[in-house]
């Protein structure tokens, strides 16, 4: 009898401690980045490109990486959105609900989601050779776009699946075509979810490093065309952290603060937007 009580008490404690540890990790990570990043921050950091080479030059900031990451994130999100919307429209509206093809697409997206970004990077490299493309923003956008595709498509799919079937049926029975139903009823209803999916994809695209090493490269300058290489924040952190010069390492710390802030803004705003727009949805 004593053992039963004791065991329950013990595990009552353990599960709380485990949860605290997991939540605590997030706070410690953010705190570490803040403590190291704040002293390194300055106006130059966000307004200038590095001068004298990113690895050795003591002057300048990481504007090249900020702009590069935003270009890459936007490009990849748009590329992936253009593919995701048709996919979710097809598997939810055009195909039958028992369709094996739709089921296969869902599973294959889930599996694509599990593939690590370094494999996408390697695949991007294969594609670049096949199409004679050099290390460039375009190659990065295509590779990262493919990486983001399963996240975006599956998030939208999950949202659309929660929409009551009657809503689509009502529209179809009034004589609307499937396409009209998809665009004017289902997509409008799923709008908050689509927005969340886009932000989720954008965040992932901005933060991913392993897939851009091969494809986007690194440069000190801001790219003026999609065929030029571009710097990205994750690689700015990775490359500059290894430098023996303190000013350069500081640039890496500042970059990590900027990247963390961007990611936190995206993840918090996607939550708020979802709540806000979800009010307009017919329940």
């Amino acid at each position: 009898m004593f053992w039963r009580k004791f065991e329950e008490r013990l595990f009552n404690l353990l599960i709380r401690v485990a949860t605290l540890i997991i939540v605590g990790c997030l706070f410690i990570i953010v705190l570490t980045i803040l403590v190291k990043g704040f002293p390194a921050m300055s106006w130059d950091m966000v307004s200038r490109i590095p001068s004298g080479g990113f690895y050795l030059g003591k002057e300048g900031g990481v504007l090249n990486a900020i702009i590069g990451s935003l270009y890459l994130g936007l490009g990849a999100s748009i590329f992936s959105l253009v593919l995701s919307i048709p996919i979710v429209v097809y598997i939810n509206i055009y195909s039958r609900s028992t369709s094996r093809f739709a089921q296969f697409i869902r599973i294959s997206l889930d599996i694509l989601y599990g593939i690590p970004s370094i494999v996408y990077g390697a695949f991007g490299f294969v594609l670049m050779i096949a199409f004679g493309l050099k290390v460039s923003l375009l190659a990065g956008i295509i590779t990262v776009g493919l990486l983001v595709l399963p996240i975006m498509a599956r998030t939208m799919d999950e949202v659309i699946r929660t929409i009551p079937k009657e809503l689509g049926d009502a529209s179809l029975s009034l004589g609307a075509t499937k396409w009209e139903t998809a665009m004017k009823v289902i997509m409008r209803q799923a709008f908050p979810g689509v927005l969340t999916a886009i932000l989720l994809g954008f965040g992932r695209a901005v933060g991913d490093a392993a897939s851009v090493i091969f494809t986007t490269g690194f440069t000190d300058n801001i790219p003026t065309s999609v065929l030029q290489p571009a710097a990205t924040l994750p690689l700015a952190i990775f490359f500059q952290l290894g430098s023996p010069i303190k000013e350069v390492v500081d640039r890496a710390y500042a970059s990590s603060l900027i990247l963390t802030v961007i990611i936190l803004i995206i993840s918090i705003s996607s939550r708020l937007l979802f709540k806000r727009f979800n009010k307009n949805v017919i329940k």
Partner: protein, 298 residues
């Protein structure tokens, strides 16, 4: 008028079908692309030489992947040993004990954790974990010479990175356990913990293993965070405090030289193919288990 609408619908239907078909082919394209690129090394070296040899000298045409494979396995294993118990306990708390408010709070924090880029985990590892291992942990176990850049550091950082995905799936799985089962056990006089241990966890066991397998494949392919803290020496690690050199790090570190040495690019693409194969196998198994559970619930 109405034919225009129908035409539009037909065209739209065909185009969305085409895009969907393309998305179904991506996986296939990745496999074929990587296979074609790694074919040269598979022709000139036998598969067992590649997998079980430990001599890595690309300049001398020696490509033994064993140190890299073992480092990957070790780092992944360490991360799971740390992450799995914590995740199981946390998932139990969230699904069985926590009230709605706490649950919502913790879930959003875990979601935020999931969105943090791997470089940030890496830099955190370098700032906190690596010095902690080299100054405190390694000397305490008699490894004074450890630099801290070790497979243990890689495993610790990875453990934090797999928390979100493992917890997320475990929560879904625990939700599929019917409330009636819990009530039946409680009504027979079992206390809450006994019910969880003997009914809920037993019922959820296949799903929990699937969650662990998915966490495993996440950790297996993680690149940058591990690369930054694991030390990257191509030797088979002998203790937790030795450095290692996992496969993804090998690919990411050598993209610069790979075009100048014959077969090197093919070897790296083979490494990517190897990662992909292992992850595909584990993913397919885990997804099948989860799908079967979801079907049972309906």
């Amino acid at each position: 008028m109405s034919t225009g609408r129908i035409l539009k619908d037909r065209i739209a239907g065909k185009s969305v079908w085409l895009v969907t078909l393309f998305s179904g082919l991506i996986l296939f394209l990745i496999i074929v692309g990587l296979y074609l690129k790694s074919a040269p090394i598979l022709h000139s070296h036998s598969l067992s030489d590649l997998l079980f040899e430990s001599k890595w000298k690309p300049g001398k045409n020696q490509f033994g992947f064993l140190p890299y494979i073992l480092s990957t396995v070790y780092v992944t294993f360490i991360s799971l040993v740390i992450a799995v118990p914590l995740c199981v306990l946390c998932a139990i708390y969230m699904s069985e004990y926590a009230n709605k408010k706490v649950k919502g709070f913790v879930t959003s924090l875990v979601d935020i954790l999931a969105g943090i880029p791997s470089v940030i985990f890496g830099i955190w590892g370098i700032i906190l974990i690596v010095p902690f291992i080299s100054n405190k942990l390694a000397p305490a176990f008699g490894h004074e010479d450890s630099t801290g850049y070790s497979i243990l550091a890689g495993g610790l950082v990875l453990a934090v990175m797999v928390f979100p995905i493992v917890i997320h799936i475990m929560l879904e799985v625990l939700r599929t356990v019917p409330v009636e089962l819990r009530e039946a056990s409680l009504s027979l006089g079992a206390n809450k913990w006994e019910t969880i241990k003997k009914v809920v966890l037993r019922k959820a066991a296949p799903g929990i293993s699937a969650a662990i397998v998915l966490g495993f494949s996440r950790a297996f392919g993680e690149t940058l965070a591990v690369l930054m803290v694991v030390g990257n020496t191509a030797l088979i690690p002998k203790s937790l405090f030795d450095s290692g050199y996992p496969l993804p790090a090998l690919i990411a570190n050598n993209y610069g030289e790979m075009m100048s040495i014959p077969l090197y690019d093919s070897a790296l693409m083979f490494a990517a193919l190897l990662l992909l194969t292992v992850i595909l196998v584990f993913n397919v198994i885990a997804r099948m288990v989860i799908m079967r559970l979801e079907k049972q619930m309906i």
